[in-house]
């Protein structure tokens, strides 16, 4: 996984990975998963997403049909 990280953040990530005996990729993925979980629980974001996907279902279906 290639991620564009602030050098300080990259250093911290490497330090955590070393201390915990894991790869940097694992630690980064876990951090992203935590962020994703927080976003999944963001009620406004979820409501807007659900409304959007329902409103534009036909467009998304057409795009899928053309892609497959």
């Amino acid at each position: 996984m290639v991620l564009r990280l602030d050098p300080v953040l990259a250093e911290r990530l490497a330090a955590v990975a070393e201390v915990e005996g894991r790869t940097v990729t694992d630690v980064a993925r876990e951090a992203i998963a935590t962020l994703v979980e927080a976003r999944r629980n963001d009620k406004r974001f979820r409501r807007l997403l659900e409304e959007n996907l329902a409103r534009h279902r036909r467009l998304l279906d057409l795009l899928q049909a053309d892609e497959s």
Partner: protein
């Protein structure tokens, strides 16, 4: 401006793919997502500084920049166009804009051409900007860029209002309607000029006359009345084929007018703005380089709370029936031409 981040993309993808966020995350090409978001953020920095709310042209620019970046660096390559579209629409929503895509096939063409490099980002953004409306869940009168004072007449005023707003921001107006004595056209950056056919011009002139005569302006129902009276265009033929009588349409429109159709203030009802855009999209989606009465008629079905569509549906000419009748007539006229 509220931008999207990696977590947002994963949540969007999980909904589009129909899986949980954990599965979406394992499927994601994080590096590609990171690259796409970085490119989109760079493009988004070009907007006017110091304003909390995005102008529609800026919102469209930023949404198209995000979509373009996700098409070039797809985090979910198998569904890249779907995810890019969903992300663009979600970006607009979190920034209080809604895209009204009344002719989905036209949007598909725009996205596919953007992906193939056949449309430039400014062209695609111009198309999208013309389809943006403030989120109706927001209260009116909050100084939204499209909140406009009441005015008298739809077609010329909508054009002037759009031109003014875009000129102020030094953006090219995304949608121009030009109407003169000899006809007129709709011009967009994606389609170029689409000239009205003779029947369509006549329908438009009659719609203007009808709206003035009835003392009410702006509604798609006036376009319907104009269509019914405009000679023997394809729309009239299609409606005749479906058994719709002009007097029945007129009676219903006049009743509706008497009941004071409930349009919000503005130079034109939002429903009518959508009809104009849908008209151009119907022509674009069908590969036509003109706007005929059939595009007017099909565009009337662009949304459910449109009085014209409701009247036609009540008379047995719903969208499906009308589309089928128009397709039949076009096929017949094609056969006639080739015979």
């Amino acid at each position: 401006m509220i931008g999207l981040d990696l977590a947002d993309l994963v949540v969007i993808a999980s909904e589009v793919l129909g899986c949980d966020t954990g599965t979406a995350l394992t499927q994601a090409d994080i590096g590609a997502a990171d690259e796409a978001l970085a490119q989109a953020a760079q493009a988004g920095q070009a907007r006017s500084p110091g304003e909390a709310r995005l102008h529609p042209a800026e919102a469209a620019d930023a949404a198209i920049a995000l979509m373009g970046a996700l098409l070039r660096h797809p985090p979910f390559p198998a569904r890249r166009e779907q995810i890019a579209a969903a992300a663009g629409l979600q970006f607009l929503a979190v920034n209080d804009w809604q895209a009204y895509i009344d002719v989905p096939r036209a949007a598909v063409i725009v996205i596919e051409r953007l992906a193939a490099g056949q449309l430039t980002p400014p062209q695609a953004a111009s198309w999208l900007a013309a389809h943006l409306f403030p989120d109706p869940s927001l209260h009116a009168g909050q100084g939204h860029p499209l909140a406009t004072p009441p005015a008298k007449f739809p077609v010329t005023l909508i054009t002037r209002a759009i031109r003014r707003r875009y000129r102020r921001r030094r953006h090219m107006s995304p949608f121009l309607i030009s109407i003169g004595p000899g006809g007129g056209s709709i011009t967009t950056m994606v389609t170029g000029p689409l000239a009205f056919t003779g029947h369509a011009s006549e329908a438009l002139a009659l719609a203007r006359r009808e709206s003035s005569r009835l003392g009410r302006l702006r509604g798609p129902e006036h376009i319907l009345l104009g269509l019914m009276d405009a000679g023997d265009g394809l729309a009239v033929k299609a409606l005749k084929r479906l058994g719709v009588r002009p007097d029945a349409v007129r009676e219903q429109v006049e009743q509706l007018t008497d009941q004071e159709a409930d349009y919000p203030p503005g130079p034109v009802a939002p429903q009518t703005r959508r009809v104009w855009h849908a008209m151009a999209d119907e022509a674009f989606a069908r590969g036509d380089n003109y706007i005929g009465t059939e595009h007017f008629l099909l565009a009337l079905f662009c949304d459910d709370d449109n009085a014209a569509a409701q009247i036609l549906t009540g008379l047995g000419a719903g969208e499906r029936e009308v589309r089928a009748a128009v397709a039949e007539l076009l096929a017949e006229s094609g056969r006639e031409r080739s015979a």
